[in-house]
């Protein structure tokens, strides 16, 4: 048990500092590590990702869900704290220098460089999750409609998730 907790802590502690542009950017690495550790199958991972989306709370809940799946309450707490604490400490520390730092060329350069990296990582995450989640015509249709609805930003995400779950329940 404690070995699993250490592994969860090390994984999410590292990802906290690598999550450029937010949690979705590290979803490919969370999937890769999950498979490498044998914590879940690809199919289970997509279901856990879906549960973290449908639950309240920010995107970091993927760490909570995975921790809970692997090691119950202790796993959920270790994974969540590991995911939020390192970047939180970093941001408090960086906040002290932000005034002088924000207009420097180095900062603008770093931000301009990281934007396409973030875009590539989130696109990879969407690709990996979609490959696993789309298993036939109906799931392809659900994913396509939800992609359209969320891209436009007109439909509340919960409505899309609820409609997807109901469609799966009724039609699969």
């Amino acid at each position: 048990m404690s070995g699993v907790l250490v592994a969860l802590g090390l994984l999410f502690g590292r990802l906290s500092l690598l999550a450029v542009g937010g949690t979705n950017a590290v979803v490919p690495e969370i999937l890769r590590a999950t498979l490498a550790h044998g914590w879940a199958t690809r199919g289970q991972f997509v279901q856990l990702f879906a549960i973290s989306n449908a639950a309240p709370g920010p995107n970091v809940m993927i760490s909570t869900v995975l921790g809970a799946h692997v090691a119950g309450w202790p796993g959920a707490l270790v994974a969540t704290v590991a995911m939020v604490l390192p970047s939180g400490v970093l941001v408090i520390w960086a906040g002290r220098a932000w005034e002088t730092w924000r207009e420097t060329r180095a900062r603008r350069l770093l931000q301009a460089a990281l934007l396409p990296v973030t875009a590539g990582l989130i696109t990879a995450a969407a690709w990996l999750i979609t490959c696993q989640a789309v298993t036939g015509a109906l799931t392809a249709l659900i994913a396509g409609l939800c992609a359209f609805g969320s891209y436009n930003g007109r439909v509340h995400p919960l409505v899309l998730l609820g409609a997807g779950a109901l469609a799966g329940l009724a039609l699969l």
Binding site: L18, P56, A126, A143
Partner: protein, 184 residues
């Protein structure tokens, strides 16, 4: 930003404000946090909120938890940061652990499997939409950005390299390419 004076806020008030944002923010915590901090409590002006958010976006990690840490620490130091983050994540963590427990117990039942398949497809769609919103403006910005997006996508999504190697290769390249585009 140094103008913000938040030291009169108690840890309990900080906890409750972020608890409210977390409960109101089902499906989008950031707009809820803005409503609570700017419109509701008037603890920040819109400009001050934007300033805090810009810093959180420039740093790694989840933007909204970073914002909670920063706001709590500005008001009350480390214990303030604990109060805001506990307010933000406490209820969602409990619910998520309960959901995951239900999943472990009932996830194999046929109707649950079907609902989860639909939910998974919907979650994939949401992520596709988010990827489109962030990637398409990049792709219109010129070949340098297209190259970096394509390289990172290929390494992380197709070749499935460990992220540390993806970053070790793509970030220096992205910096070199951006150096030509960002004016001194």
């Amino acid at each position: 930003m140094s103008k913000i004076s938040l030291s009169h806020l108690s840890r309990g008030a900080l906890f409750l404000a972020f608890l409210e944002a977390s409960l109101a923010g089902f499906g989008g915590v950031l707009p809820a946090a803005r409503r609570v901090l700017v419109d509701g409590r008037k603890w920040l002006t819109q400009d001050e909120f934007n300033e805090l958010f810009a810093l959180c976006q420039a740093m790694p990690g989840a933007n909204i938890t970073n914002l909670s840490f920063l706001f709590g620490a500005r008001a009350r130091g480390w214990s303030g940061a604990v109060a805001t983050v506990a307010g933000l994540l406490g209820v969602p963590v409990v619910l998520v652990v309960v959901f995951t427990g239900l999943y472990a117990r009932y996830g194999a039942l046929v109707p649950v499997r079907h609902a989860l398949a639909g939910l998974g497809a919907a979650a994939a769609g949401l992520l596709l939409g988010a990827a489109g919103r962030i990637a398409l403006p990049n792709l219109r910005r010129g070949w340098r950005d297209v190259l970096v997006v394509a390289l990172v996508f290929a390494l992380a999504g197709l070749v499935r390299w460990p992220m540390i190697w993806v970053m070790a290769l793509s970030v220096p390249l992205a910096l070199v390419l951006a150096a030509r585009a960002v004016r001194p």
